[in-house]
Structure formats: structure tokens, C-alpha cells
């Protein structure tokens, strides 16, 4: 099927197989390898991207289903060489170690801060339920999200 969509603000038209997952399309067809695959049961959240402004797991969505959508990946957050406030906060609060879960974690955090303007610690922890990290014990990820409150 011919796919027409916007990725990180850029209009893209590409032919894809109907069974292509959005994550494969992003990684393999567009070579945006910042979106990762960490499991095969759609639980780890390493592949989270935004489709029309909402966080979704790109491993549990077909690329053809994104036809006509606006997709944002981790590569699309930096504006004019400036990190997004959530990226900045992760850096400041040591919210990442190996970096593998980080793109998904950042994308989920942004959505979390959009839907909760002033989340409690409990809401942050619960809100990150769909993202697994093995390095940080989530402590500094929570601190990073807290640090970005009011900046999204």
C-alpha cells in the first residue's frame, strides 16, 4: 500500500507491505533508528512514538494504519539545535544510563506531562507503567519528569 504521512514534520510517501509494523517502517524504511525494539509482546515501551500527538507503541501498530497521520519520533524533538525540555530534564537529572529505553521513556513522559499538567509522584510512576527500564530503577526518570513539569 502507498503510504502518505508526516514524520517529524516532513512529508513522506512510500510504498510498504501491508504487514509492516510502524516501528519497522520507522527504523528500516526511514532509517530513524532512535526508536527501539525491546520485546516482542508490546510491553517494554522502547518503541513509543507519538501519532497525532498521542503516545503509542509503534510495535503494536501497522504502518498503513498511520496513513495520513503526523508521527513524531525521538529524532523529531530537538528544535533548532535545542533539546526539548523533557530531553533536557533527563540529561540534568541523570534519567538515563544505557540509553536503550530512553527514547520511548522520553516520548511517554512528554505525553504524560501533556495529559497531567501537574502530576503527583504516584501519577508519574503509574503513568510510566508501559515503559520498562533495567538501569535506573526509575528513580531519576521520575525525577526527570518532575523536573519538566510546567515546561511541556
Amino acid at each position: 500500500m502507498k503510504l502518505s504521512l508526516k514524520v517529524n514534520g516532513k512529508k513522506i510517501e512510500k510504498e510498504v507491505d501491508d504487514n509492516t509494523l510502524l516501528v519497522s517502517f520507522i527504523r528500516e524504511n526511514l532509517n530513524l533508528t532512535g526508536t527501539h525494539v525491546g520485546c516482542d509482546t508490546s510491553q517494554c515501551g522502547s518503541c513509543v512514538v507519538h501519532v497525532n500527538g498521542k503516545s503509542v507503541k509503534s510495535c503494536a501498530m501497522f504502518a498503513v494504519d498511520a496513513n495520513g497521520s503526523e508521527v513524531t519520533t525521538i529524532e523529531g524533538l530537538e528544535k533548532d539545535g535545542k533539546l526539548h525540555p523533557v530531553q533536557e530534564s533527563f540529561k540534568k537529572h541523570h534519567g538515563l544510563q544505557c540509553g536503550y529505553c530512553t527514547p520511548g521513556m522520553v516520548m511517554s513522559s512528554i505525553d504524560l506531562l501533556k495529559s497531567h499538567k501537574n502530576p503527583t509522584e504516584e501519577e508519574i510512576r503509574k503513568g510510566l507503567e508501559g515503559n520498562i527500564c533495567r538501569c535506573t530503577g526509575y528513580q531519576n526518570i521520575v525525577a526527570s519528569v518532575k523536573g519538566a513539569i510546567g515546561k511541556v
Binding site: 530537538e78 544510563q97 536503550y100 515503559n131
Partner: protein, 788 residues
């Protein structure tokens, strides 16, 4: 720079999606590989029919163990020789990278399908027909010695029966004890679960005869050594291993796996790049697992609370084969540490390592030390309770108080102050206020418990003299090379590997302080055997203590040469030159040269017109120094962790309410990174105590083979941790550092479990799942009823 919370240099690339992990690499003309894995825990392979698959669309080749054997590719090895108490060597079965006759665990490697696309490889994999004769599996650690031998010639499935300590002395301590406290302890099996699944890409250049393997490794040099020397894959000087960004390791990426050997070999054989990326389910089945001990332990106690003896009898599960560090993990990384940080004069430890039809077990964060710490900290708790003593006081009474302290088993502990961190932790956790909090919980219908874990670990895994005398196949020193470029920036090559630990920043801080160059002008290079000198990699909390020390030593050599050059330029004696804050100065004069000027000068050896050569006569030009560092001893981080849990007796659910730790890691280079290491370790340790368990059923099927069933801790499983430090610098390395990577995972399981047991007043095994706690409470209640 040293001691400050410098933001990480490596973060920007990871935060913007520019990290480059193995799976992100695409090579020209690459093919895709899928492994055929055994669905059975134990079976004989009667035949493998690849004909249909070979004819399938897009298939390039289907390779089996026979092809591997025909090409004379060697099997995987166990790298640490353990000698049994009867003097015989450990027994290790052949471990071919692709099985030929038998498979020994679900997920064992049987064949490789290589195709033009991943989809075609997967489709063709369905067409490979393996004829198995299924045999009865040995799945249980405790039953292994009484079951049928799974490997020919290895009686009782016993790899070794090893001992440490003076048995007669221990028997004496027990016979003169006022009380003997015994305990059965299970250390549950875990799956490391680095978030980046393993991956390998082989690439062979037929023109230069160079073989390159991109892989998810914690130590590329060691992998290359093993694959050259033992697997006979390719000569070491024409074999390059690149471990680019690696998404977590926790031990599971130390050793070369079958997949590395097979993918590198396939690429060479096909003369085409071959890419393999592990899926999570495959990772559950085939990554090395951790822990899996069952233990009987006993302590001898005097009526005043002095512990006089310790006896340990452990069965350690090695899984289907002996993996690279599998044999040292339950012996030298475990046995010596069962003493904890206590002054116990007599101890004896017996470990029987057994084979079972499960995935190989090897080092996982802490490796041996968490098992040892769990044992001693649980039994100390039980002993205190049985002696009717306060658990904190009982521990303090038995602490080692003077340093250096030669323990009765192996280690000579150089420094520490155990009362200092325990007192600080007790204060921070408000131990005094516990009873009040307990009453508040009770008013809500909840049970509250408090648990301590005062621990020690042996880190900075190095001293080659020590480890080689104990059976290690290699020395565990570390290397560093500093290349000072003419324009004043620096490339630092280390043999360690960073996969989350932040070496790019921590090491740069050391170099910055030592050489007076800003952190942004220092590049730390690792993970490519073609770039830096041979190094031993990252594990055992060794990178800073050993690798950082090598860097420090190389910096000293740079300064040494710099002084000679500066002396020549400033017309002074080298011994009169002082180096401070990046400047070489002649004291009491205004004569000085900056580090940058000296570096530049080192590359200008000749006389230029009127200007004479800055280098002393006969000195080699250039500014590049290499150092190898081999410390004299392990380092001994220690600390005190205190956990409070609250339990809902109606569901059995345990919530970690507070967690406090005060650790002594010696000097800290970057406290922010250290804190991150503690956090991650704690999450893994609390995960072991409450959530995680690799569960094999009796047929040897791994029931917990995905995140649907293996409980990975999430953000909402933890409270905010309280962290503080004390400091007694290590004397075994120039930085005074002790290592911090594993402490959290080592210390926390007993802290949590002592709290759970304190809350419910009865024993429960790890993981203390809601059902187990609920059942323990129920059983306790019915026992009480019966007794009444």
C-alpha cells in the same frame, strides 16, 4: 572535576535517538539470520532435514552443527578451572555452538537459516524439520544429583564438589557453641534482561582476510581472544570485534555466546554480512541466567551473641553447560564472601555445582556476592531473633572493627568502618521510630516490617596473581592508552566497556583533573579491538578501580614526560618542575608552560631556524602513553541498607515503603553517576526479592519466557530511595575507589526479605509474591490454631 556531579557527555546522543546499537547497523548486501532452537529441554537429535528450507524463497543457506564441525570451529569454553575437594578437575561437557547430537535446554542452538530478508528467514525456519528423540529432562536444582546423567561421563550431573575453609575448626566452633541456628535458603533464578536484546553482525572482507563482528559485548577483547584461541574462528590480528553502544549488560553480555561464534563463522563462510537480532523471547531462553542456589547454612553462636562459626552447604545450578564464568561465580566470588563483614573466626563452605536441562547460568549483577550476602544476612537476622537480641545490636557486636583484617577464608580487607555506615543508616531510616510506624500500619489493617542488610563485597575484580592462582584462565588487569593530540585534545583508550555506566564522563573527569584539560576536550574510546589496547572489559565493579587506575597511571606517565620536556624548554631540572592545574611551573619563578604547549612541543622535535628543539636530546617525539594496571588486592565496598515494607494481609501484597542505604564506596568520582548505579542495583535486588523468578516446569519448559509472565519491576513498584555515604578510601588503587556497580543488587534482597519476614513473622522464599506471603500467613494462622 573529581567528586562533582558532571552531567554525562554521552547523554545527548542517546536523548536524540543517535545512539548506535548493533541492531541499528545496516551493512551493504547484508543477509538476515534466524536460529532454529530446541523446543525440548533434553533430546537426542536424530536428524535435521533442511532440504525444504534451503529451497524456500530468498534462502541463502541453512547451516547445522555438522557444517560447523566440518569447518573445525571449536566449542564454547568455561574459563575458570575449579578443582574439587578430592583433587580432581571440574568436569565440563563439550559445548558446540550448534548442537550436533543432543540438545540440553529449551532454546539450545540447532541450526541457522540465512536469507535475503528477515521475513524469508523466519518463513524458511518453519520448514526446517528436526527429528528429536525427547528424553526425560532434569529441570530442578535440588534433584540434579539424583537424576540420570545428562552428559555422558559426568556422574551425578556434578561439575565439581568444591570446598573452602577449615572444616575441623568449624566443627569445633559448633561443638562449643551455646546455640546453633540453621537455615534453608533458596536463591531464585533470574533473567538479566538488559533492555537491548543481544545482536551480532558478521562481516568478512575477502580482500584483506579481515573478519569483523559487531556485537553486544561487555568486553570485546576477551571475546576476540576466546573466539580466536578456542573457537579457532579467525586469527586474532585479523579479527576485529566492535561493541558499539550496548544497551545494558548486567553480566549477561560478558561472554561470547553461540550466536557470536556462529554469526561470525557464517559471514566468513558465505563471504557476506550476516545479521542476527535476538527477540525478547529468545533472549529469555538463551541469555545466561543468574543465581539459582539452594543452601543449608548454620551459625554457631555464643550466649553473648558472638558468632564463632559458619557452615555452608550449597548446590549451584550451572544449567545445560558450563558458561565462561559460570564456575567461578558460585565458588570464589561466593564462598569467601559468606562471612559478610563479620569477624567470624571459623567457616567452611561446600559448593556442588550441577548440570540441569536449563539455560546456562553465569554472572549476573553481583555474581556470587548477592548469593553470599543473602545467606549471611538472612541467617544473622534469624540468629539475632532466636537469641532474643536486637537485630541491629547483634550485627554490630559481630562487625569487623580493625583494618586491615584477614578473614578466615580468603580476603584481606584493607579498609572500612562498618559502625559508621550502619549508625548513619539507622539514623536516616529512623529505626527508633519504627514501632510507632508499625502501630500506624496496624491501625490500617496492615503489617509493617523492617529489615537490615549490612554487606560487604569484593570488587575491582583484578589482582591477576590472586585470580590466576585460584584458577582464572587469564589475568584481570586493565589497560589504558592516552593519546595527546598536537592540537591539545585527548583520546583516551580503555579496555573496559561502558554500556550505561557513564565511563565517557567519569574517566574524562579523572583525566581532566590529572592533566588540566577540560572534559569536553577528552574523548573516551572503547568497544573496538582495532582502536585501543587489549583490555579485560567491564564486570565485577572493576572499571573504575582497575580501568580508571590504569588511566590515572597513564596520565602520570604523560605528566612525567611533560616535566622532562618542560624542563628542557624552561631550562630547569625535571625534578624541579611542578605540575599543577594544567601547568608545568618552575617554583618561585614566573617560568611556566601549559599542558597544551607541552603537547604541541612533543610533536615538534626538530630545530626550527633559531628555535631549538623543545625535546631533550634522544627523547622520542609524540605524546602517547600506555599503562597496564594490576592492583595488589580486591577492593571492598560495604554498606548498610534498611528496608521497611507494608503488607496487606488480605492479598499478601508487599509494598516497599521506604528504602535507605548508606554505602562506603571509598572516594566518589561522579556522585550523580554513583547514585544512578545504586538505584539500578536496588531495583534489580528488590526485583529479585519480590517479583522476579525464572521458572522452569518439571519438563524443563521456561514458563516465564516473556514480560507477560516474568515480572519486570516497573516505576510504580518502588518508593523514592534514600541514599547517603560514608568514606574510607581503598588502599589498593591510586584513586581510593572501591566500585559501586553491583552494591544495590548485592545488598537489597536480604534487606527486603528480612523486612517481609519481620512483618509476617514466618519464613517465605524469594520472590515473596503476594500469593506466597498470603499462604505463609494462612499457614501460620492454622498452625497457631492447631497449637491452641
Amino acid at each position: 572535576m573529581i567528586g562533582s556531579k558532571v552531567e554525562r557527555k554521552e547523554d545527548k546522543k542517546f536523548l536524540t535517538g543517535k545512539g548506535r546499537y548493533t541492531a541499528d547497523i545496516t551493512l551493504h548486501n547484508q543477509s538476515y539470520a534466524v536460529f532454529i532452537r530446541s523446543p525440548h529441554a533434553r533430546a537426542k537429535i536424530k536428524g535435521i532435514d533442511t532440504a525444504k528450507a534451503k529451497k524456500a524463497s530468498g534462502v541463502i543457506d541453512v547451516l547445522t552443527g555438522k557444517d560447523l564441525a566440518d569447518d573445525k570451529i571449536g566449542g564454547l569454553i568455561a574459563g575458570w578451572k575449579i578443582v574439587s575437594k578430592d583433587g580432581t578437575d571440574m568436569k565440563c561437557p563439550a559445548h558446540p555452538a550448534l548442537a550436533t547430537d543432543t540438545v540440553n535446554y529449551v532454546g539450545d542452538h540447532v541450526a541457522l537459516v540465512i536469507a535475503e530478508s528477515l521475513q524469508e528467514a523466519k518463513d524458511a525456519a518453519d520448514l526446517v524439520n528436526v527429528d528429536y528423540k525427547v528424553l526425560k529432562a532434569v529441570a530442578n536444582t535440588g534433584d540434579a544429583m539424583n537424576a540420570e546423567a545428562i552428559h555422558e561421563g559426568i556422574d551425578k550431573n556434578l561439575c565439581f564438589d568444591w570446598e573452602l575453609g577449615d572444616k575441623a575448626k568449624v566443627d569445633e566452633a559448633f561443638s562449643s557453641a551455646d546455640k546453633v541456628v540453621e537455615m534453608d535458603i533458596v536463591n531464585n533464578r533470574l533473567v538479566p534482561n538488559a533492555m537491548e536484546p543481544r545482536a551480532s553482525i558478521g562481516d568478512y572482507n575477502s580482500s584483506s582476510d579481515e573478519l569483523t563482528l559487531y556485537t553486544t559485548s561487555q568486553n570485546p577483547h576477551l571475546s576476540r581472544l576466546v573466539m580466536s584461541a578456542f573457537n579457532a574462528l579467525h586469527p586474532e590480528h585479523k579479527f576485529r570485534i566492535v561493541a558499539p553502544d550496548v544497551g545494558g549488560g548486567f553480566g549477561s553480555k560478558i561472554y561470547p555466546y553461540s550466536e557470536d561464534v556462529v554469526i561470525a563463522w557464517a559471514a566468513k563462510r558465505l563471504q557476506r554480512p550476516v545479521k542476527w537480532v535476538c527477540e525478547r523471547t529468545e533472549s529469555f531462553l538463551s541469555d545466561c541466567h543468574g543465581r539459582d542456589h539452594i543452601t543449608k547454612a548454620a551459625v554457631a553462636v555464643k550466649s553473648d551473641g558472638t558468632v564463632t562459626g559458619l557452615k555452608v552447604d550449597t548446590i549451584a545450578n550451572l544449567g545445560g553447560y558450563a558458561s565462561l564464568f559460570a564456575t567461578v561465580t558460585p565458588t570464589y566470588l561466593y564462598g569467601p564472601l559468606v562471612l559478610g563483614l563479620y569477624n567470624i573466626p571459623a567457616a567452611y563452605c561446600n559448593v556442588k555445582a550441577v548440570y540441569t536441562n536449563t539455560a546456562p547460568v553465569d554472572a549476573y549483577r553481583g555474581a556470587g556476592r548477592p548469593e553470599a550476602t543473602y545467606l549471611i544476612e538472612r541467617i544473622m537476622d534469624k540468629a539475632a531473633k532466636e537469641m532474643g537480641m536486637d537485630r541491629a545490636e547483634f550485627r554490630k557486636k559481630n562487625f569487623i572493627k580493625q583494618f586491615p583484617h584477614q578473614q578466615c577464608l580468603v580476603h584481606n580487607i584493607d579498609s572500612g568502618d562498618y559502625d559508621a555506615h550502619f549508625d548513619k543508616a539507622l539514623n536516616l531510616a529512623d529505626y527508633a521510630g519504627f514501632e510507632k510506624r508499625k502501630a500506624e500500619s496496624a491501625a490500617k489493617g496492615k503489617l509493617r516490617g523492617i529489615g537490615f542488610s549490612t554487606y560487604i563485597e569484593a570488587c575491582g575484580i583484578a589482582p591477576s596473581a590472586a585470580v590466576m592462582s585460584l584458577g582464572a584462565g587469564v589475568g584481570l588487569w586493565e589497560s589504558a592508552e592516552i593519546r595527546f593530540n598536537p592540537t591539545g585534545n585527548i583520546s583516551v583508550f580503555t579496555g573496559t566497556h561502558s554500556h550505561g555506566q557513564g565511563h565517557d564522563t567519569t574517566f574524562a573527569q579523572i583525566v581532566s583533573d590529572k592533566l588540566g584539560v577540560p572534559v569536553e576536550n577528552i574523548e573516551i574510546v572503547h568497544g573496538d579491538t582495532d582502536k585501543g589496547p587489549f583490555g579485560m572489559g567491564t564486570y565485577g565493579s572493576r572499571s573504575l578501580a582497575v580501568g580508571g587506575s590504569a588511566i590515572s597511571k597513564a596520565c602520570d606517565k604523560i605528566v612525567e614526560k611533560g616535566k622532562a620536556v618542560a624542563a628542557n624548554m624552561l631550562e630547569a631540572k625535571p625534578e624541579d618542575i611542578e605540575f599543577k592545574d594544567g601547568e608545568f611551573i618552575v617554583p618561585n619563578t614566573n617560568k611556566k608552560k601549559t599542558m597544551g604547549e607541552i603537547a604541541f612541543a612533543c610533536y615538534l622535535p626538530g630545530t626550527y631556524g633559531e628555535i631549538k628543539s623543545p625535546l631533550p636530546e634522544g627523547m622520542e617525539p609524540g605524546l602517547k602513553e600506555t599503562a597496564f594496571y594490576d592492583p595488589v588486592n580486591f577492593s571492598f565496598p560495604a554498606g548498610s541498607h534498611i528496608c521497611e515494607v507494608e503488607i496487606d494481609p488480605t492479598t499478601g501484597e508487599t509494598k516497599v515503603d521506604t528504602y535507605t542505604c548508606v554505602d562506603d564506596f571509598g572516594n566518589l568520582i561522579n556522585p550523580m553517576i554513583v547514585e544512578g548505579q545504586i538505584h539500578g542495583g536496588l531495583a534489580q535486588g528488590i526485583g529479585q526479592a519480590l517479583y522476579e523468578n525464572a521458572y522452569y516446569d518439571e519438563t524443563g519448559q521456561l514458563v516465564t519466557a516473556s514480560y507477560m509472565d516474568y515480572c519486570m519491576p516497573r516505576a510504580d513498584n518502588f518508593p523514592e530511595f534514600r541514599i547517603d555515604y560514608t568514606c574510607t578510601p581503598a588502599t589498593s588503587n591510586p584513586l581510593g575507589v572501591k566500585g559501586c556497580g553491583e552494591a544495590g543488587a548485592i545488598a537489597s534482597p536480604p534487606a527486603v526479605m528480612n523486612a517481609v519476614v519481620d512483618a509476617i513473622g514466618t519464613e517465605v522464599t524469594m520472590p515473596a509474591t503476594a500469593e506466597k506471603v498470603w499462604r505463609a500467613l494462612k499457614d501460620k494462622k492454622s498452625a497457631q490454631k492447631k497449637a491452641a
